[in-house]
Symmetry: C2
Subunit: 501 residues, 2 copies
Amino acid sequence: MSQALTALKERLSDLHQLHMAAALLDWDQQTYMPSGGVGARAEQRATLSKLSHDMLTSGDTARLLEKAEAANGGLPHGSDDWALLRVARRDFDKATRIPTELVVEFSRVTALAQEEWAKARAADDYAAFAPWLERIVDLTRRTAEALGYQDRLYDALLDQYEPGMTSAQIDRIFAELKQEIVPLARAIFERVDQVDASVLTRDYDEEKQKQFAERVLAECGFDFKRGRQDRSVHPFCTHFSRTDVRITTRYDRNFLSMALFGSLHEMGHGLYEQGTAESLEGTILASGASLGVHESQSRLWENLVGRSRAFWQRYYPDLQRTFPDALGDTSPEAFYRAMNRVAPSLIRVEADEVTYNLHIILRYELEQELLEGRLSVADAPEAWNAKMQDLLGILPPNYAEGVLQDVHWSIGIMGYFPTYSLGNILSVQLWEKAVSEVPSIPADVTEGRFAPLLGWLRQNVHQHGRKYYPGELIPQVTGSPLTAGPYIAYLKSKFGEIYGL
Amino acid sequence: MSQALTALKERLSDLHQLHMAAALLDWDQQTYMPSGGVGARAEQRATLSKLSHDMLTSGDTARLLEKAEAANGGLPHGSDDWALLRVARRDFDKATRIPTELVVEFSRVTALAQEEWAKARAADDYAAFAPWLERIVDLTRRTAEALGYQDRLYDALLDQYEPGMTSAQIDRIFAELKQEIVPLARAIFERVDQVDASVLTRDYDEEKQKQFAERVLAECGFDFKRGRQDRSVHPFCTHFSRTDVRITTRYDRNFLSMALFGSLHEMGHGLYEQGTAESLEGTILASGASLGVHESQSRLWENLVGRSRAFWQRYYPDLQRTFPDALGDTSPEAFYRAMNRVAPSLIRVEADEVTYNLHIILRYELEQELLEGRLSVADAPEAWNAKMQDLLGILPPNYAEGVLQDVHWSIGIMGYFPTYSLGNILSVQLWEKAVSEVPSIPADVTEGRFAPLLGWLRQNVHQHGRKYYPGELIPQVTGSPLTAGPYIAYLKSKFGEIYGL
C-alpha cells in the first residue's frame, strides 16, 4: 500500500470516528438525555459537524486524496482500497461543492424550523410553518444547484441518498407502481370489511411485548452482544461500529403492531450494519450502500418475514402463550389477516404494505413541484389534499394529518422519500433471489431457522457495506436492475389471496 | 470584548464541546454499551483525544492565546474573562510541555495495562502486572519531568489534579492525620463489637433501593430534568453541561450502604456540576475547581449529611416503611450506629470514615517511594503489606485485596489519591462554615429541607466552576486555608460518641 494511501486512510478513519461520536450524541439525545440537555447537545453536535466538515474539505485532505489517487490508479476494481478512494472522492467533491455559508445557513434555518414545525403541527397552523418551508425550499434549490446535476434539479438531491439514482428512473418506477397499485388498493377498499384487525388493539403488557420481541430478534440473528434495543419516541437504527449497533422502538399497550413490526423493521437495518465485513470496520465504507438498500433490509424482515404466514407458524403459539387474554380466542389465520389489513389512511408511517407507496408517490410529486416552482408553498396543502383524494380516496381533516405530518422537510431533507419505495421494491427482488438460491428458506422460517436467509443476505449484501453503488450491487446480486415487477406481483398475490380478488 | 478574545473563546468552546462529546463516549461505555463495542469505542476515544490535543496545542491556539493576553492585560481580577485566560494559559502550557511521543506512548501503554491489571487482579498474579507498572512508573516520571516542578517530582503530578497543591503541604497534612487518626482507629478497633452492622446486609429489593434513593436525591436538590442516574460497575459522575449531569450507582441486594451512600456521594459531585454559573456554560471553566474540591462536595453529602442522625430523623421512617421486613425491628439509633461502624478493612472503597484516610496515606507514601526510586516495583507488595500492618493492623491475604486493588496506577494516574483526603478535610471546613453562616441548616436537614445548605454551597462554591484555584477558593469561602483540624475534631467527636471513647 502506498504511503499516500496510508496517510489518507488515517485521515478518513479520524473522520469516520468523528461521525461515530456524533452518532452517539444523537442516539443519546433520543434515548436517555434529560430534557435539560437539549441546548448544550445542539452545541456539541454543531462543533462535531463543523470539525468533520473542516476536516473533510481541508486543503490537507484534498492533497492526501490527490496523492493517493495518483499513486493508486491501478488498484484492482472491486478491492476495498479502490472503493475507498472512489467513495472518498465522491464525499469530498460533494462536501466542497456547497459553499460554507450555505451549509451554515441551512443548518441554522433547519435547526429552528424543526421546532417551528413541531409547534405548527401541534397547533394545526400551516401558515406558521409556511415561511420556514419557503426558506427551506429556497435553500434546498441553492444546494442542488451547487451540487450540480445533468437533467433535473431533483437528481442532485436524490443522489445524496441514493447514489446514481435519477428522477427519470423514479418517474418510470412510480408510474408503474401507480398504475398497478391504485386499482389494487381501490379493489381492496371495497372489501375492507373482510379483515378485522381489532385483535391488534387489545391489551398487551409492554414489558411482555419487549421480552417477546427481543427473543424473536435474537433468534433472527440480531447479536445483542454487538448491539442493543432501547426506547425512543421515533424508532431508528444507528451504529458506532459493526460491533455496536443500536436500534430503538416504541410501545403502545393497545396496539401490538407498533413495537412488534417496528422492532423487526429496525432489526433489519441493524442486521445490515452488524453484517458489514470486518475489513471495512473503522473506514468510511462501514455503512450501508444507500438509503434504499438499507430500507430493503428493514422491509424484508418486517414484511417478507414478519408479516408472512411462515413466520407465525413458528411464533404464533409463543405469542398466544405470552398474551393468553388478548389472543386466546384468535386463530393463527385471523391473526395473519389482521396484521395484513389494508385500508386507506392519512398517516404514512401507519400505512399498510399496499398503500404505503402511494404516500411516497404523493410526497415525491409534491417535492418536485415545489422545487421546480410549479407549486407555491401557499398552495401545498391544497395540492396535498387533491393528491390524497386521487391516490387514496380520502381527505385529511386538518393540516396535522396532512401536509404537516412528516418531519423531513422541516429538517431540510428533500429527495429522500423515494428511497422508502425503492427499499420496498428491492426487498422483494432480494427475497426472491435468496429463495431461488436457497430454496429451503421459506420452510426454515416456519421453524424459526433464520441462519440460511441471514447468511445469504450477509454474503450478498451486508458484507459489502458502502463499497458498491446500488446500481452496481443490485444487478450483481439479483441479476437484474431495480425493477418493480416482482414487488407488484408480490402485492397482488399476497393481498389478492387475503381479500379474495 | 476584544476581537482576539472572542476568537480565542470560540476555539476554546469547540475544545470544550469536544471534551463533552468524549465524556459521553465514556459514560455510554460504562452504562449501556454492548460488550462488543469496546474496540471501536477505544478508536473513537483516541480520535477525539488526538483532535482535542491537536486543537489545544496548535500554533493557531498559541497565537490566539497570545493575542488575547496582549489585548486583555487589564481585565478585572476575578472576572470570568480574566479566569478564562488564566486557565487557558495553564492548560495550554501543560499540554505543550509534554512531548507528543510521550503522550502517545503513555496512552498506548495505559490502554493495554488496564486490561493486564484486570487480568492480573483476577488471577491474583502480581508478577504479571509488575512489568506494566514498571513502564508506567517510568512514563510517569518522564511526564513529571516534562511538566516541571520546583521541589519534588510528585508536585508536577499533584498539580494536574489539585492546582497549586504541593507534596510539602500534603506531608504536613498527612502527618497530622496520621498522628491523630491512627490512635483513634486503634481505640475503636478494640471496641469493634460495640456496633452491629448486620442490619445493612439483610435483604433489600433493588428496585425499591433505586426508588428510595431517587426520591431522596430529588429532595436534596438533584435536578432530574438536568441529569439522570444509571447503573454502572464503578459508580461515577460526569457531565456534558450544567443542564445534563449524569451520575451512576450500583446495587447490592444484600448490602444497603452500597447504593444508598454511593448515590449520595455521586449526587454531591452532580450538584456541584448542576450549580455552575450559567455564564460559564460551554466554556473551559464549566467544571469543578479541582478533584479535592469536587470530593469535598461528594463527601459532604455522603457523610456530613447522609451519615448524620439529623438526616435519618427525616428519612428513617420512610426507609423502614420501604423495607419493613429488613428494618421492622431496628431502631433509628441502631441504624445510625450500623451505618457508621468502623473496622479495619482491606479495600479502600469500602472503608469507613475513620480508616479511609489511612488507605490514602498508604498509597501516597508508596507512590512517592516508587517515583523517587526508593522502592522497586518488585518490592511494592511487601511495602504495601508492611504499611497496611502499620496503619490498620491487618495483612492482605492476597495481591487482589492488596497492591492490585485499585485501577489508578494501571491507567497512569499517580498523584491523584491525596485529593480524596483533601476532599474529606475540606468537606468539614465547608460544612462548619455553612452552619456558622446559616445556623438553621442542621435543623433543616432533620426536616428534609436542603435548600439552605445547597443554596450556600451554590453561592460559595458551585457557581464559580473552575474560575478560582483551590488555594484561592478555600480561604475566600472559609476564611482559612485548607486545614485538617476541624476534620479531625469532627471524627473524634462523632466516633468518640458512638464508641464511648
